[in-house]
């Protein structure tokens, strides 16, 4: 046994220091690959578009300007898109989190008659659904087309996340606390409000951030259900980022250079992407430490 260990030591060859360097180097490369494109957009958003085109902005901004951001915040479409997105995100997040909680709490109670069937009723919708058109027809029949509620109600309960919350209730909230509060005469509802919710703040924070990100970034639901009214920011961005480029490039070829107007639109592209991405990038690190907990709660079978 001792000789086998010794042999291993020699065959391993690599000292811990060397392997540390290799591990850190690989992580650093991954870090750069992920961070650089984001950094580049940031740099380009405050640089002179001519310099961006000439490739002068790989590392540092060139010809510093805030014109792009000024133009973005002066554009009524972008501003209203931003405000719409804020509104949808706030209401949608509250709606989604409330739905998760009021579904997960009853289903976490192992003594609830019919619990298995009700769970199955929800879980089934994870694997099978009506699809795009049948759902669209129901949204239409319930009169939600063009209304903000079409963004929230058809989503119903996020079943995957609901299971995570339910498992958290079951495994991470001491059952004797719940028992004690019920013996003290608290109703199930009162226990939910004053014992379970305060004890589940970490998972609440994670779910709120997930919902927030989903609503802030959503555009497909808005595109099919809102019918052009009250467009959220990503849909406004679509007009800026996706549609115009071919026409612009042609115009640029013809005029043999970038006209002042094009210069502005190029700058707006970078700035509007930053405006759309930054709020969520600021929000998530606060709950990052709870991510793993949230995911593992989902992996435990309940």
């Amino acid at each position: 046994m001792a000789s086998a260990a010794a042999r291993k030591k020699t065959s391993a060859g690599m000292s811990d220091k060397t392997s540390d360097i290799i591990l850190v180097a690989i992580c650093a490369i991954a870090l750069i690959i992920v961070a650089y494109p984001l950094y580049y957009v940031l740099v380009a958003s405050i640089s002179d578009p001519y310099d961006v085109y000439a490739g002068k902005t790989f590392l540092l901004p060139s010809g510093f300007t805030l014109d792009g951001y000024k133009a973005v915040f002066a554009d009524p479409k972008i501003v209203s898109g931003f405000l719409n997105s804020v509104k949808y995100t706030v209401i949608g997040t509250c709606f989604s989190v409330i739905m998760l909680y009021i579904t997960a709490y009853p289903l976490a109670d192992k003594n609830l008659p019919g619990r298995k069937w009700i769970s199955l009723f929800f879980v089934f919708t994870m694997y099978f659904g009506g699809g795009l058109v049948p759902t669209y027809l129901v949204v239409q029949d319930t009169g939600l087309i063009g209304s903000m509620w079409s963004l929230f109600l058809p989503g119903g309960v996020g079943v995957g996340n609901m299971i995570v919350v339910r498992n958290y209730f079951q495994h991470s909230i001491p059952h004797d606390l719940v028992e004690a509060s019920e013996i003290d005469g608290c109703s199930k509802f009162r226990t939910f409000i004053s014992v379970v919710i305060p004890l589940s703040l970490p998972i609440l924070a994670v779910q709120a951030v997930f919902a927030m990100v989903a609503y802030w970034n959503d555009w497909f639901t808005a595109m099919i259900y809102l019918g052009g009214k009250g467009e959220p920011l990503p849909l406004v961005l679509r007009g800026i980022l996706m549609k115009s480029s071919a026409a612009q490039e042609q115009a640029a070829m013809i005029s043999g250079g970038y006209a002042e107007l094009n210069k502005q639109t190029e700058l707006i592209k970078f700035c509007s992407m930053i405006v759309a991405a930054v709020p969520m990038l600021i929000a998530y690190p606060y709950v990052q430490k709870y991510f793993e907990k949230g995911f593992m709660a989902g992996a435990v079978k309940g």
């Binding site: 391993a12 992580c27 192992k110 694997y127 795009l132 669209y136 309960v157 028992e179 991405a277």
Partner: protein, 319 residues
Amino acid sequence: MKKSEAPVRISAAGSAALSQRSGKTLGQRILENWQLYALLLIPVVLTIVYKYIPMYGIQIAFRDFDPNLGYLGSRWVGFDWFVRFFKAPTFWRMMKNTVLISVFGLLWSFPVPIILSLIINQVRFQKFKRVVQTVLYAPHFISVMVICGMIKIFLSPTGGLLNLILGTQIDFLTHSEFFRTIYIASGIWQDAGWGCIIYLATLANVDPGLYEAAKVDGASVFQRILNIDIPELMPMVVLNLIMAAGGIMNVGFEKVWLLQTDLNKATSDVIAVYVYEQGIVDAKYSYSTAVGLFNTVINIALLIVVNKVVSKASEVEFV
């Protein structure tokens, strides 16, 4: 996960105590829990209306649906819409593109989070580790719209980052041979870091004693990864693989649609986009529903087959 062990034990004891005093009839127990049922009322109603009624609406795939006549009033046409889809000139192209984007996507993007998390897990400098994780998670929080905007700008033939670096003027998005690479590479960029979370959480549960023993035995980092970490990760890998295999026909609509140009359609034409264009844009409700249903059925079949195969090969069970 050590912390959560204590509450689990307590809750087991608690529920045993509860079941002892349940000498009540079913009716009494239901009445006792009326507040819980009341909480469930809204979620159940919404799920019936927006999930189960659409399932009932799937029957329009077998009918010539006319909104004025309703689901049951519309004429029954059997499998006509399906036949029409199979005979569509782009049917095989769409099937091929959908499957190829998924299969290549799975082959390339599935291993990346596993390898990344094995490496990150072995980094000993906690602060550096935190920074790496924070940055790698970041792209997951960015809208597909912004990601596609970045792709478009970076790949632009005039002043795009990639062309600047390569010194070329290629319009990548108009070449169908680049489409899959663009789609898959940007997907890895956005979600590989996020995919690490579940693996890192699993690796955090490895008994530190195992590492100590391995160190005493003189195992290098590489040997520790090979003999301790990988076996520990396997059940989770298998579970994720089943999930991914079941979604092979589920090519996300959003990114394909946003990056699609007339010139790259040879590889970017997928079923999801077709369902949208036929159903919402052209309002061919029945036809679009039939195409979507066809897609769903293949997915479910794949899920069942893969689950059967894998659960025979290992003890992991699909939840």
